[in-house]
Symmetry: C5
Subunit: 353 residues, 5 copies
């Protein structure tokens, strides 16, 4: 239930109070600064407790990547350095935010859910990632340390990323692009699972399959909850209502928007498919019940009359002439075989056998 319900703050607390909310054990905050521009790329780890990472205008783009968001002091210092609103700090510390983008004039604050397919649990895991986009910097904050952004980091350090020639808005776009890419991986896994379920649906409608259908439905509900607002977020960025997003990034954001729409289309298609599966399951179970009942009816229809007949000749009346007849027994046996045969033929003609 945790994944479907979220509590953005502790009830009754002053708005803007910095309290960590999240399921995971809070990690020590760690931060790296990656600065590039004028052909130079430089990366170093910094200690957020020490002081503010200086950001000089004109000196290229700075990407501050923070892991571990549970330390109130660190966040307050970060807030002072970059002039972030208290509510932004509160939202960053809380891992149960809704996916959204807030425009504070000087900077954009974006919250998204990065999902990943957890092979071990065979389910979709998710992590909240906050991105702050300023004129010359991008801050990315997350609870734990997945390797979500590793490909971009490597390309930047190798000096081969397109981001090197563009502004901070492209960097923010590139981060979102990596996050959206993950959705396709998770969807493919879910799709495989649905396909397995489809095979069993009519052949073998077991209670386990029912459990699987319910589980997949749950994952769908969770995915929908994350992706519909994600589309809104990317759509809002693409409409470029803020000067922080430049013209050059527009086609990339449009491309990203298409991708999120594609994610949603796929989720909806899977959802439609799974929705119908329960009805088919029920029909399938009813079909099987029909098979069982037909067998029972056939057995009953064949043996009840026969048992009655042998019962008749098991009666102890003193005057039952048939009992003394020479061919009585074989005649009765033959008659019964005839009745049974006729019954079976009738059932076969009806298609019950």
């Amino acid at each position: 239930m945790r994944k479907l319900l979220q509590r953005p703050k502790a009830p009754g607390l002053e708005p803007g109070t910095l309290v960590h909310v999240g399921e995971r054990k809070p990690q020590e905050p760690r931060a790296t600064v990656l600065r590039y521009g004028d052909g130079r790329v430089e990366e170093r780890a910094i200690d957020l407790c020490e002081g503010c990472p200086v950001i000089e205008a004109g000196a290229g783009i700075t990407w501050i990547s923070v892991t571990g968001i549970a330390d109130q002091d660190v966040l307050e210092r970060l807030g002072e350095c970059f002039g972030l609103h208290r509510l932004v700090l509160e939202d960053i510390m809380n891992a149960d935010q809704r996916v959204k983008v807030d425009d504070f004039g000087d900077y954009l604050y974006v919250v998204v859910k990065a999902i990943e397919w957890r092979e071990a649990e065979q389910e979709i895991g998710s992590e909240q990632i906050s991105i702050v986009l300023g004129p010359h910097f991008v801050i990315s904050l997350q609870e734990a340390d997945p390797d979500c952004f590793a490909p971009l980091r490597e390309r930047l350090i190798a000096g081969k990323a397109r981001a090197l020639e563009m502004g901070a808005d492209f960097l923010a776009y590139a981060l979102l692009d990596l996050i959206v890419d993950r959705y396709f991986v998770a969807l493919e896994k879910l799709g495989d699972e649905v396909e397995l379920m489809e095979d069993d649906l009519i052949e073998d409608p077991s209670p386990e399959l029912l459990q699987s259908i319910h589980r997949v439905k749950r994952e769908m509900i969770f995915l929908r909850k994350s992706t519909w607002p994600l589309r809104e977020v990317v759509g809002a960025l693409e409409r470029r209502e803020t000067p922080l997003i430049t013209h050059a990034v527009a086609p990339y954001l449009r491309d990203l928007y298409d991708h999120t729409v594609q994610v949603i289309d796929s989720i909806e298609a899977l959802r439609d498919l799974t929705a119908g599966m329960l009805d088919i399951y029920l029909s399938s179970v009813s079909n099987r019940l029909n098979v069982v009942m037909k067998l029972l009816a056939v057995i009953g229809a064949v043996f009840m009359p026969l048992t009655f007949i042998v019962g008749v000749y098991g009666m102890n009346f003193q005057l039952m002439p048939e009992l003394g007849w020479r061919w009585g027994y074989p005649v009765v046996l033959t008659a019964m075989a005839g009745i049974a045969g006729w019954m079976l033929c009738a059932f076969r003609r009806r298609g019950w056998l």
Copy 2:
């Protein structure tokens, strides 16, 4: 049914007639005035029958909190003091209002439902709260006396609330914020219940579970009815179409709006989950029926032929050569054991056992 249906006024009455409508026994009206500004905070109980609580402009913010709304005289005096429209007074006295915000130019009139989880009845209770926001004052009115606003009051008196530095609009926001916080608590409880139901769904689909599903659905319908208009209310406030809402409160209202959207998202997610549960329940029950019928079919298929065979040798024909055979009895017993064994094998192969 009471909770789902509401009757905003007695039929046929003149519009603007002050009549108390509500399920609870009306309480004596009690009021406290909390005034703050220039670093001073002052709280005192007042007697609404005596006269008007004077509100001097420029003298800080005044929060009048009224409990008990069934006394017509008190409300009329309040209406005169603050220049409230007769329809507002009628709405305040009626605990079955729709959640809404009305802009009367000089003041805003907001009606919301504060919900709480009633541990004893294991259900969601709700209370209507009216909030009147003027330029320098906020009036909150409610039927009974829940401790919904206690945290804010304590922070104000302790001189630690952010509201102390801001206007009346922030105070109104802070009240709404406390109300919305409650929804998350109730949702979490409902979520726990749904999770319990999910465990039983396939393992033990009992009629009690059916009852629970229906009850939870009912609660969902009630919650939806309260929260969708709540979102509209907060959204209307956030769009700041009135000078009563200042620029400084905008990010807070946006934050609150996000929270209401999150409440709605969670309700919809739970609703989707519960909606599918009935189908799974039915499938589960059908599965069990299948198990029962298979057992019956197996028993019938094994014992009906055997009973027929023993019936045959119970017949009283004088000429039944087998009866006289030395090995007749053991041969028949063995044959029957063979038939039974073969049947059981066949059923096991089909997976019925």
Copy 3:
């Protein structure tokens, strides 16, 4: 079916042809004129066949209330007096109109359905009411004579109605307000019925309950058909796109709008509730089927083996050593008791008993 389908005019007729359409037997047209203003209130019955009720501008407000709409001549005279469009006259004579408001510049033409709970038939009855709002007059026309407007008339004559101080638009509002009030009464009755159904749903899912569910669904469909356009009508009036609606009536119309929204909310909530009830009914019936089948399976599982055993010892083989044993009979009896007991234990452990 009649209530759900409506035929606004006879097919193939010239548009604007005055033909009475309706299920009820047409009544003699009767009319009363109620004129008020300058502190005077005056009511008298008039004969519409005689001539036009004169309406002098500035002489206060005139409310002409007509019952019986089947007489073509009367309607034509009325149309001439007040300059009504032929299509309006056609619509007035036809009791199967859609709820709507038409703005003809000089006057507004409003059609609504007044519903009432018919205690005898335990169902919702409806009557069409046409309201024509001009600058200084209101004409209300209806098929039969329900006491829908009686409270207002009495208040007006008693000189205590707020309408006395306001314009014709307030009078029209007051009429609509009385009509909307009726919806809450009918909804409450429906709600009581649904509540009764809920009690039986899991305890006693009878075919009669099925009939009730279907009947309530039908009533819901009918109510939705009337109330959704009613909301549009009141919303259109509230937006005051015509000078016929003055500023002073705006808060009242907003209040009325809130009431219609509340009616719709309640209908939708009931609808959601009833929609789920059929699924629960089906699950409930399946549960009961399960109970029946379990009983049958238990009886079969207990008695079929026993009957087989006694059949074995009823066989007439000459050489059946057990038959001659001294303790044969008691041993078999005991063995059968043991088998039966073991079976019952097994079933009880499975929870089937």
Copy 4:
């Protein structure tokens, strides 16, 4: 299936190629011209192969009514005379168009479906009607010759139609009005059928009823496909975005719009009703299954124990003391009667009998 699927043109053909598409056998094209204005009305049949019917401006209104649309030459000549776009001609020849209105500046092209209730097949038939509205003329084209427009023609010739005093736009409106009128007739028939189905639903849920429900659903789907775009068409005309529609026709088009909305409302109401019927049918069938199973269970529960008991005393043990007792037989008979009676009482108390 034909009725639900439509193919607007042969695949791969050049757009604008005139090919007749339709299910019916193409008819010889026949045309009549009806001209009126200045108090004169004149009707005559013309031969479209001969030449263009001359339309002088200012000489009143001309209504050309064409039946049989499969002749390419005739249509091309018509297209030349009135300056129609090639795509319009293509659409006219194709009886599988979507209901729509196209504004070509000089003229409007409207396609609608005229439906009729076919008493013989007990189903709804439909025919496509194209209407071209120019400044002084209206052309109506249809595949076969239903008497859809007969009432208008007769009124025109009799000199009693309102159309005589108005422009070509009113004539087009009058044609559409006649077409929409037909929908009410068909709906009433469908409604009667649904009502019949409702009666059987709980009393007698037969497979034939299932067939009927499916058939009615199909008709609904077809009707929705025709009427929703019809509403758009009439709505577009009513908004008068073209000078071809004059102010005087506006109230008539609004009236017509109301009628189409009413058609849609009725279809949706019937649809809601039918949608619920399948669920009730299934519940009803399950109820009946329950009745059957209860009977079987009662019979089994009564006779299986009794048969076991008589089996016991049919055993051939030499030492069965009861067999020799004087009152053994009557005691056993009485005991069995007691057991049966007790069972029946128990079942009656449970409400199974």
Copy 5:
């Protein structure tokens, strides 16, 4: 599952990286250039590896048709020649795009899915087609080589196509028109299949039918995913927000838009139809179960009492007077026949036989 899920790019890759994605084995790129204008039409195959097909302005329209999109070099050269954005090249190489239109100012980039009915697999196949529309040229790119565009090519070479007299925008329209035509063919096939299913639905609800229903539902989901965005694409082109689309093509695009709407209408109609089929299937299966159970109940009700009676007279009590009666045996036989007859009559009266 493949058809429902799409992955627009490999995760983690730099945006704009040219990587081929698709299920089919990549083909050698082949290209033909078709140039027409001033009455001349010229077609030749070109080698894309060699160089740029020169496009002189004013020299008519050039249609470059490329098959095989897996070669990165070829695409990069194409991109340079026509100044295409890197993201366009990436999208072209990826056969899993969403249907869309992107406006890059100088050119439009359109992605659509061409579907075809694969007779062998009895399913709908689809291929992605990219269309780039510039001021004087159209480039169409596709994975493999279906004969989708053959009719247009032949008409162009034969000099009979309307496209010869119009601009590049008409050529692009003509390509889209051919693609949309294919949808009608596939829909007709699906419609035939649904019709076959309808016949079996109530007569013979087999598990194979269930499989068919599920398969058709899947195809519907896939079709919806392709056609709804297709409508958006054609609608966007029709609104002519770019100078690349001229006024002369507008009616053709409107016609095309109508066709896509018609495709969607038909899909939705089929979907509605299929949606109801599962419910009817389930009802049908329940009906059959009822038939089986009734038979079983009748057999049980007839033979269980009879078997009990013969059991009674099979008991071995020494004192059973009836056994010695002369007419005992015939009386019992007659009584049993009477009971059986009465039972059968009772069941026939209930309609169970």
